[in-house]
Amino acid sequence: MSRLDDALKEALRREDPGPDFTRAVLARAAAERPKRSWWSALASGFRPPLVRWATAGVLACALLATGLEYRREQHQRAEGEAAKHQLVLALRIAGVKLHVAQEKVFERND
């Protein structure tokens, strides 16, 4: 029994790790720390809920503004094309009537 006690005491004896132990552990921990990509680093900045909501809001506003601008441009394009069509029609009528007037003047002078 005493031999067993002695063996246990020997095995569980407090042993001083030495002065370099702490430094070695810290160095190894630093070496094994996983490297974060720039994307994950950037994304981590958006993790707090407020920032996430703000980002979603800004994106939604940007999408809405883009949609409205596109619609405004389409509307303006339709108006412009209609105005162009009317302009051509007006010039055609004006040209035809001026031509008729000119022909009549020529007829009179012949």
């Binding site: 412009g80 302009l87 029609l89 010039l91 055609r92 009528i93 004006a94 040209g95 007037a101 009549k104």
Partner: protein, 176 residues
């Protein structure tokens, strides 16, 4: 009374600048089988100009002409039978052109064809500031008003484009 006189005086220049289809003539649209109503003010002309290509020769000519224009207005009625408009209707239009600045450069009356064609020019400071064409045919009445600085040479250059017949300004022997 004084206020009314001031308002009337203030309104006169506006009246002198604008040629409008009289209400009696406007009512002809109910009898017409076909009407054309083009109302292009300065803003709409500028908008139309933005959609004209500067690279296409015919559109470039129109774009070039728009610079000094304040408006283009066309009102045309086509009837199924003769006698839908009266001499008074024409007179209501002509009376608006009997103001300083406007002068009739062409007036052709064809009794045989029952047609009246009149061309009026507004001259401002030696430059053409407006053009009105009044064409009255038995079954058709047309009023064209081009408001603003218009070059007749540029207008004639449009001949052959957009369905506009060729107009030869150089040979025009117009007499009063």
């Amino acid at each position: 009374m004084r206020i009314r006189a001031i308002l009337l005086m203030a309104a006169l220049p506006v009246f002198a600048q604008d040629i409008k289809m009289p209400a009696s003539v406007e009512r002809l649209s109910a009898k017409a089988v076909e009407t054309v109503d083009v109302q292009l003010d300065g803003a709409l002309l500028q908008l139309a100009g933005r959609f004209l290509s500067g690279h296409k020769p015919d559109e470039a000519k129109v774009k070039d002409m728009l610079g000094g224009l304040k408006g283009i207005y066309v009102r045309s009625f086509e009837f199924s039978q003769e006698g839908e408009y009266t001499a008074e209707d024409l007179e209501a239009i002509r009376s608006q052109l009997r103001v300083p600045g406007w002068s009739k450069i062409v007036g052709v009356v064809s009794k045989k064809d029952k047609e009246h064609t009149e061309v009026y020019l507004k001259v401002e400071g030696g430059r053409v500031g407006g053009l009105v064409v009044l064409a009255a045919e038995p079954k058709e009445l047309t009023l064209v008003h081009i408001n603003g600085s218009i070059s007749l040479e540029k207008l004639s250059e449009l001949g052959g484009h957009f369905g506009v017949p060729k107009i030869d300004i150089e040979k025009n022997p117009a007499k009063d």
